[in-house]
Symmetry: C2
Subunit: 290 residues, 2 copies
């Protein structure tokens, strides 16, 4: 990749460009939460759809892909801040991304763990995520550093169910029930009484209602569900230090968002609006090699 | 990639090396069927696990990935024949692979369509496959060329269900029922009376029993299920012209198989045996770039 001049202005009068990166378009749930809180910023979102899913790949591969993607957003789109809107890349490649670009980089794991700490009364936390995120134990480590006990479970069927559009489907409720029953049984075996559940994948906020209903029906309605998209956006507000705060009268509807993908632009445009909760518009196809 | 000297001998006394390629390890169902019929051949299997799934990617991307993979098997492993044990790559990239390597290349689509022609009395055929295979309409075209009418449906949840190990799970039966009911309703709307169902993805043979049970319960037990892994292996026997036929007393247990993957070697070793129906042994990690 050539280090082209930034495409966006970076002067003090211009609102900053925030680069948001995901392996696919699940990270649009994080972008949606960011736009709500920082509507005056400009956004460049990249979904590395040619190489998704990261969730089943190795650390080495994920780090290489994520660093290339971050470099595109910083070097070619002028991003002054990077949000890694992908749990797997945050878990496995945050260091590699921080080394690859000279701007502040925020992942989703730390904000998720911080929100769990605020939500939990007894410090016992459940985490559901992809295979690779769970195998990294990044949530367990981030929770432990805050004095929480976390138990993690991979739920590999949930992403395909969301992408099939079955977010309110009885099959999805049944799959959610099976995964959560297994996870709660495992927690009970370890003597834990969890009161908080972290959604450790950016696809899962689309299943939040199903998850809360399953918990309620299972007599576990007291478990609070933490959406790391929301907590990441709240952390971003503090990190970006007011530079992109809204002026009076500004709304998210006016926010400038450019979307890029490495493949499957049509699918991105079709499904992305479910995650962003508004049309994603035109998605530009880019080639990162490989 | 450097064009290294073939790693395997190719003299007239040596049994030929057959290269078998898939985006993941589903193609091991094709390798299993090949080994059963041609136990004396030597096999080099490559799963491009760093870049799977192909099923949701574009033709351009799939063609590039598949050509690189075939070149590895021919140039570096001495394959004299190539079997593309991946429906998506066969559907979208068979031409690109044939251009990329100077050996005979066999895909899974044509053998599947040929088997459907033999099985069907009335020429009305159902096909289930991944998104990309269905969008290519490769099966519909291959069936039409043989005077069959085919109707295709993408079933994107079936691969994740197989990889989760839920091959005999009630959730999987329910998902299969939903997909097949929708497909049969669509066929009825078009005035078709299908008597044949092609499994157009190398993961689906692991669901064959579930699929047959769902058809029986739905009053469609007369529909014959075609496993394109089996029909591809039968075509290979003819194509390879007896060069790799067994000598008396030789069995598949003695067959030399080398397995390569571009990522997730541990997962390949763990799950692969379900598809191959015997241990896959050591899987070598290779780097195709990207």
């Amino acid at each position: 990749m050539t280090a082209a001049a930034p495409a966006a202005g970076t002067g003090p009068d211009k609102p900053p460009v925030i680069g948001v990166f995901d392996s696919g378009f699940g990270g649009l749930t994080v972008l949606r939460a960011l736009v709500e809180r920082l509507p005056q910023a400009r956004y460049a979102f990249l979904g590395d759809t040619a190489r998704l899913p990261y969730g089943s790949k190795s650390r080495r591969t994920i780090a290489r892909y994520a660093a290339q993607s971050a470099q595109f957003l910083v070097n070619e789109q002028g991003a002054e801040y990077m949000v890694i809107a992908c749990n797997t890349a945050s878990a496995l490649a945050l260091d590699a991304i921080q080394e690859a670009v000279p701007v502040p980089v925020l992942g989703v794991i730390e904000p998720g763990a911080a929100a769990a700490q605020c939500a939990s009364s007894n410090g016992d936390v459940l985490v559901i995520a992809t295979d690779a995120t769970v195998q990294s134990h990044a949530y367990a480590a981030a929770c432990q550093a805050r004095g929480l006990r976390a138990i993690e479970k991979a739920c590999p069927l949930l992403v395909p169910l969301v992408e099939e559009g079955w977010t309110a489907h009885p099959v999805t409720a049944e799959v959610v029930r099976i995964y959560l029953d297994e996870l709660r049984a495992q927690a009970a075996d370890e003597g834990m009484s969890p009161d908080t559940l972290v959604l450790g994948c950016t696809h899962y906020p689309l299943l939040r209602r199903q998850i809360e209903q399953v918990l309620a029906v299972s007599g576990a309605g007291g478990i609070r569900v933490i959406d790391s998209a929301e907590s990441t956006a709240e952390t971003a507000v503090r990190l970006f230090n007011g530079r992109a705060a809204a002026k009076p009268g500004e709304t998210a509807a006016q926010t400038e968002i450019r979307c890029f993908a490495t493949d499957s632009v049509e699918k991105f445009e079709r499904l992305g609006s479910r995650f962003l909760e508004r049309p994603v518009g035109h998605v530009e196809l880019i080639d990162l090699g490989g």
